[in-house]
Amino acid sequence: MSILQLVANGLVLGAVYALVTLGFVLVVNATGAVNFAHGDLVMAGGYAAILFGSWIKLPLLLLLPLVALAMFVLGVLVCCVAYFPLMKRPPSTVFISTLLTGIILQNTYVVAIGPEVKAGPPLLQGSNLPLGPVVLSPQAIATVMVAALLIGGQYLLFFRTPLGRQLRAVAQDREMAMAIGIPAFRLIAITFGLGAALAGVAGAVLSNQFFVSPTGGVSLSIYGYIAVVIGGWGSIFGAVAGAVIIALFQVVASAFVPYTVATGGLYVALLVILFFRPQGLFGERIQRRV
């Protein structure tokens, strides 16, 4: 396989990971909370795609809004259970609660649907398209476009709209935000809903090529976490860049070394980045005046 094809595949995978990471970063930006059940929510989206796909005979691309809606509701539910009751506690507590929520979700999948790996419906049917030196499936192209659309949308939301300003204000000082009239709780719930919706879309999109399983979400949560740290805590573009970097690394490295070595290399690279540049490649620490 040519190196260009490898890079192209890596970029497509990067788009998928970026979709996964988007929802993760959204919640982190708005609440400061790391939702370790995010990957499991991605799986939920995959399962939703499979279920809806079997009930309604439409291409997945058209079913995405339905998946997003269902996942939005699930996200609000997770917020009410794992976040709201623990808002006043140290961040590590929320970390743990989301970890536990993930366990609950994973086992619910096994009990409700079964432990086997399943494949979801494709976004678009069709044969591979040659694009210059590389070959991509319509599925891959659609994936990249969906990702690009959502990434751009999220940036615009956060930095160019009043809602985004309010979300950031809530993240920085929730009590004060309320005292100036911002409906903080509502916004936090919306944030979790949006994050879950993004996760669901990501899960639906990757369900065809990357499959869905009860424990498949764990590594995704980890990758999301890594992407955010590499890219810089709180930076959307940084997280996307981080996601693409992870994907490229995996795809390109896997062509030359066994998969497990590539994964191990990823963890080592993460440690190196944390050691030399803990604020991430693109991030900036907010300095506190002591």
Binding site: V34, V81, A82, P85, L86, R89, P90, P91, S92, T93, F95, I96, S97, L99, L100, T101, I103, I104, N107, T108, V110, V111, V218, I222, Y225, I226, V229, W233, T260, T263, G264, Y267, V268, L270, L271, L274, F275, P278, Q287, R289, V290
Partner: protein
């Protein structure tokens, strides 16, 4: 949390009976003693299966106690605990099963290996804050899991190792289930006692302050990096021990015991049992281990219920079972403080003052910029022994920045700082504190649940050399804590807070809290005391009182640098004033001169005052 119990030891040797009786009266020690009794009875009549379970629970108890060092006390959410466990287990497994070494070799190695790993990565990992730290420890766990599953020849890969021998010491094997259980729980008791030793003394108490604010802890001379390092390495060693013992008990080991599943179990036990309590850790381990077994037949439904239960606990019972029991007990039977006796010897001040006119602090050409803003430009000042100097200037003039640079919390971009003959320009804050410079902060950080006396005593923790080694040497007699409390009494008297020594700081009025904070900075008889806006928030009577006390402190030879806006407060106090405006010194000299200086008047009041 035992931090709140205000039990001071009485002078003179207590009767043999009084000591254990008093111990029973504290916290939840009585129910625990009863529980231990019940445990002993149960263990005596248990069958092989129950004994095995008890042993495993004991090993997990050690795991949790070790985890509390880094998670609860140092406040860092480490995800490497299961990794340490796994390392210890595999060390014992590989060396014992494959090579046939006895426990006299495998056990120390199983404890050492994770400890070494922790030490090796600590430098890189502990510098990181919060999420970064958690992620780094997670990455390490994942890496080790990967290595373990791939290194088929040594570790048996995903299938793990079996046939691990029982514990054996120089050929003598501990074969029976009952003896194994006794052995494991013997280790548990030893591990618990060691933890008690470390955590209940002055050193352990210092962790509470460090968790609240690392800069404040550093400024009091506490080497916070070393503290976190010790906590992390200890957690590693305890984890390794737990893993080794488990391997001896169950005779098998698999990669699952290295990765996330065990880590989550460890977290669950810590949360449910009680974060800050050693007894809670033991209880959590016992409870969860047995529950897991009971409900094993339910399989996945059990995991769901298990997750829900832990989540519920997390939300509704945050201090865990033991923590909640202690809280209930404290409300029903409030602890009365034992009377504090007079210190038999008032601690003498170090005679580290060479001569009267010795220049103690010299600041020369210091500049500092934040982002694009020049906070300080070419600032200089000097202090002599016993002098009181006021640092004044309008808001934004750089006063707090200068204090932070002097005390070592920031580094200057340019310039030189000399203190007591040492170049402190690039020296870490805690080292500067240990040279004899103490300070207070604009926002007061005290450990609210601790008594006034103990909060003041914390000021001695960094300087008096409280550390792991000292804790070991004390062997439970808490010498450094006693000594610190003695000195704290003297400092409390100097600040007039000796009437409320047993009160928890959280309930005190603001003015008293400020005095406690100053007393904490004073306890180690510093050569230089930096006070950052000490009068803010005090009424006029309190201000006058504080000014008098500061004068008395200076009269003993301590130099004082006071940052203040309040010129009335400084008027009675300062011998010299230095005025900053927009990062530069615009006037310096006698108070009357500086206050009359036109530049100063303009900076503060605007033109044509």
């Amino acid at each position: 949390m035992s931090v709140s119990s205000a039990g001071y030891e009485q002078r003179g040797a207590p009767t043999l009976l009084a000591q254990p009786l008093r111990w029973l009266g504290h916290g939840v020690n009585l129910p625990l003693a009863l529980g231990a009794l019940a445990f002993a009875v149960y263990a005596g009549r248990a069958g092989a299966y129950e004994l095995r379970l008890l042993s495993v629970a004991g090993a997990y108890a050690i795991l949790v106690i070790g985890y509390q060092f880094i998670f609860s006390y140092a406040g860092a959410a480490s995800l490497a605990q299961s990794c340490f466990f796994g390392l210890g287990a595999y060390m014992t497994g590989v060396l014992g099963a494959t090579y046939g070494f006895g426990s006299e070799i495998t056990l120390p190695l199983s404890i050492l290996a994770p400890g070494l790993l922790a030490a090796a990565v600590a430098g890189a990992v502990l510098r990181l804050e919060d999420h970064y730290f958690s992620l780094a420890t997670l990455a390490i766990t994942l890496l080790v899991t990967l290595v373990v599953t791939q290194w088929l020849s040594v570790t048996g890969g995903t299938n793990g190792l079996s046939g691990i021998p029982s514990f054996s010491l120089f050929g003598q094997t501990v074969a029976s289930r009952y003896d194994t259980m006794l052995l494991v729980w013997g280790f548990v008791v030893a591990a618990a006692l060691l933890a008690l030793l470390i955590l209940r003394g002055l050193y352990g108490r210092a962790f509470h302050l460090m968790r609240q604010s690392r800069p404040v802890a550093s400024a009091l001379g506490l080497d916070t990096a070393r503290m976190r390092f010790s906590a992390f390495v200890l957690s590693g060693c305890y984890g390794g021990l737990a893993g080794a013992l488990t391997a001896h008990v169950t005779h098998v080991i698999s990669p699952e015991q290295v990765g996330l599943p065990l880590m989550i179990t460890c977290l669950t036990m810590t949360v449910i049992g009680g974060r800050m309590s050693i007894a809670g850790g033991i209880l959590g381990a016992l409870l969860i281990t047995h529950l897991q077994e009971q409900f094993r037949f339910l399989e996945y439904y059990a995991f769901i219920a298990y997750g829900v239960a832990t989540l519920t606990f997390l939300v509704l019972v945050p201090n865990g079972i033991v923590g909640s029991l202690e809280a209930i007990r404290n409300r029903l039977l409030p602890t009365t403080a034992d009377p504090i006796a007079e210190p038999t010897v008032a601690p003498a001040l170090d005679s580290h003052f060479a001569d009267q006119g010795e220049t103690l602090l010299e600041v020369d050409g210091v500049s500092k910029a934040f982002g694009g803003i020049q906070a300080l430009s070419d600032v200089g000042l000097a202090l002599r022994r016993g002098e009181i100097v006021g640092l004044i200037g309008p808001n934004g003039s750089g006063k707090t920045t200068l204090i932070n640079i002097i005390s070592g919390l920031y580094d200057s971009d340019a310039g030189r700082l000399t203190f007591a003959g040492h170049d402190i320009s690039r020296l870490a804050a805690f080292r500067i504190a240990r040279l004899g410079m103490m300070r207070t902060f604009q926002h007061i950080h005290l450990v609210d649940e601790m008594s006034v006396l103990d909060n003041i005593a914390l000021g001695w923790a960094g300087v008096g050399g409280a550390g792991l080694r000292q804790a070991f040497r004390a062997f439970g007699r808490n010498d450094s804590l006693k000594q610190a409390r003695d000195y704290a009494l003297t400092a409390a008297r100097a600040l007039g807070v000796d009437h409320c020594l047993a009160d928890p700081c959280g309930a005190l009025p603001y003015g008293t809290r400020r005095r406690v904070e100053v007393a904490r900075a004073l306890i180690a008889a510093p050569k230089l005391l930096l006070l950052d806006e000490p009068a803010a928030g005090l009424n006029e009577e309190e201000q006058r009182d504080l000014a008098q006390r500061i004068k008395a402190i200076a009269a003993t030879g301590t130099a004082v640098l006071v940052v203040e806006h309040n010129l009335v407060f400084l008027a009675a106090l300062a011998e010299r004033l230095v005025c900053l405006d927009q990062g530069r010194v615009i006037a310096a000299g006698l108070p009357t001169e500086v206050r009359a200086d036109l530049k100063v008047i303009e900076a503060y009041l605007g033109t044509a005052a």
